[in-house]
Symmetry: C2
Subunit: 315 residues, 2 copies
């Protein structure tokens, strides 16, 4: 008899769902809206209905389903209890119990960033590695740490919250977390724009980015496009970004000594050039025993969460 | 029938050995010299003889011994192969095979710093916690990371090498590792003396440490003794030390989010005051989700290694 599982990634706007074979092939994937009204009380029933409907449609019996893995944007403890998922309106929700009751199947829940890291280890940029760090470089900097093939959750679910590692003592701007000088203030899409604005104000050099600044189109993408076109100021901005992220990832290597760093998030669309800038400074700052770590781009994009959630239940 | 195990800690001068009950009580502990001549080729046979002799003396049958755990000062992979233990004269040695052959018992080997962390988690400062970071503050800064009750070894055995996390960009002095600005350059016994010398040269203030500097007795212990006596300059030195170590441990929390930091090594003999200085700056730099982490002193001293080695084989 064929065996199946579901991998589910609950986001602030949509819930992504994947039906997987027990070998880990995605057979079908789709989305449903995330209904956040009434403290998000519809989300779990909506997920259960979506799963049950698909099973009916595909004529999949309950005993052919190994279980349901689910990633949510909040701290999740090992018992599957979410402690405040503000983007969903949730306070404290016992997912294993609530979703398990509705489905009468095994459920395994975890934090979405950690689940995405598990997905990238399994079928993405870290495939073949059991010790991996995913750095997600988007509006902010997130992360997920995989050691011996398992996610690091941490004591309060904050394992892999690498964006708030302190890097700079005299940063005047305040980070979203309230501190000053966090990695995220330099190594995110927002951080790159901040570095670019400072650099453009401090130099007289010509740069295509001045037009972007005037037009309000200055972005991380614009910076890396200009880097590829050979713009000198843009290259200096990329060097500075690389030095911060390289330094942050070198500190992480001093803790978990991974085989591979996988770079994901919107900024990773810049391509291999991102790895070049980051690994250059990583090599400068890292302890020699961790110099061999590789830098790779994430491969699964928005599907990392459903893959990781499936892996969570298959493990 | 009673069950036993051995916990062994191979150091550069002596090998510490503990005979444990299967419940984890140390029944007897003793030391043998570490014979480093001939590329350390006697060390493994000496260890085997010591174990067999003790079994004979105590009339312990082979099938009453669960196994032998052993910590060594070098990178050890999961198969028990040591890759260069320079302090022992070893190049590549398969401990599981060599010691296992001599004893005809299960053997489990790991890096000594990681094993010490396991010991402190099991019976020391981290007792009752499964997520712990041991920071060993001696001549250098070492460490061991425990996640869900297991050591983090890392891809090349450099998990927990926290002493070489980069902290300062413009440090002129070179660290033992060849880099500049490593945590160890500020947060070790040697680092405290370095900070003290700089501080004494930069200020005119009176301090009992000036006499120590003249007499060649300036040490981390002298600094913390002066702190306890209310010496203002010594307090400034301790603040600076605390800021570096607090910042380094906050970065580590951004990766593994531990329940507790255990401070060990020679400098930890300063007592609770050490935790006070370090946690003050940890709180300043750490991401809010990790603010609850506790700071405790190591309890097992030089016995951490034999306890951790016993736990290694009991797990």
């Amino acid at each position: 008899m064929s065996q199946y599982c579901f991998g589910i990634d609950v986001g602030g706007t949509t819930v992504k769902i994947g039906l997987f074979s027990s070998e880990g092939t995605v057979l079908e994937k789709w989305e449903i809206p995330t209904r956040k009204e009434n403290d998000g009380s519809n989300i779990i029933p909506d997920v259960a209905n979506a799963v049950l409907k698909k099973m009916e449609e595909k004529k999949i019996e309950k005993d052919a389903v190994i279980g349901v893995g689910i990633g949510v944007p909040g701290a999740v403890d090992d018992a599957g209890v979410v402690h405040r998922a503000v983007n969903l309106g949730w306070d404290v929700i016992d997912i294993h119990h609530e979703l398990g009751n509705l489905l009468q199947m095994p459920v395994k829940a975890a934090n979405d960033a950690n689940v995405a890291a598990l997905g990238e280890m399994w079928r993405g940029g870290g495939e073949g590695c059991l010790n991996m760090v995913l750095a997600t470089i988007g509006t902010g900097v997130g992360g997920g740490i995989i050691v011996d093939g398992k996610m690091i959750t941490g004591a309060t679910g904050a394992g892999g919250e690498i964006g708030h590692i302190h890097l700079v003592d005299d940063e005047p701007d305040t980070c979203g977390c309230g501190n000053h000088g966090c990695l995220e203030q330099y190594a995110s899409a927002t951080g790159i724009v901040r570095i670019a604005k400072r650099k453009l104000a401090a130099t007289q050099s010509d740069s295509s980015l001045r037009k972007d600044l005037e037009n309000g189109t200055l972005s991380a993408k614009a910076v890396f496009d200009a880097v590829k076109a050979g713009d000198t100021v843009a290259c200096e901005i990329a060097e500075e970004f690389g030095s911060y992220l390289g330094k942050g990832l070198a500190a992480i290597a001093g803790v978990v000594n991974p085989e591979v760093f996988v770079l994901g998030g919107g900024v990773s669309k810049a391509g291999e050039i991102l790895c070049t800038y980051v690994s250059k400074y990583y090599q400068k700052y890292v302890f020699h025993a961790s110099k061999e770590a590789q830098f790779k781009l994430a491969k699964l994009g928005n599907d990392a969460g459903i893959y990781g959630a499936a892996k969570l239940i298959l493990d």
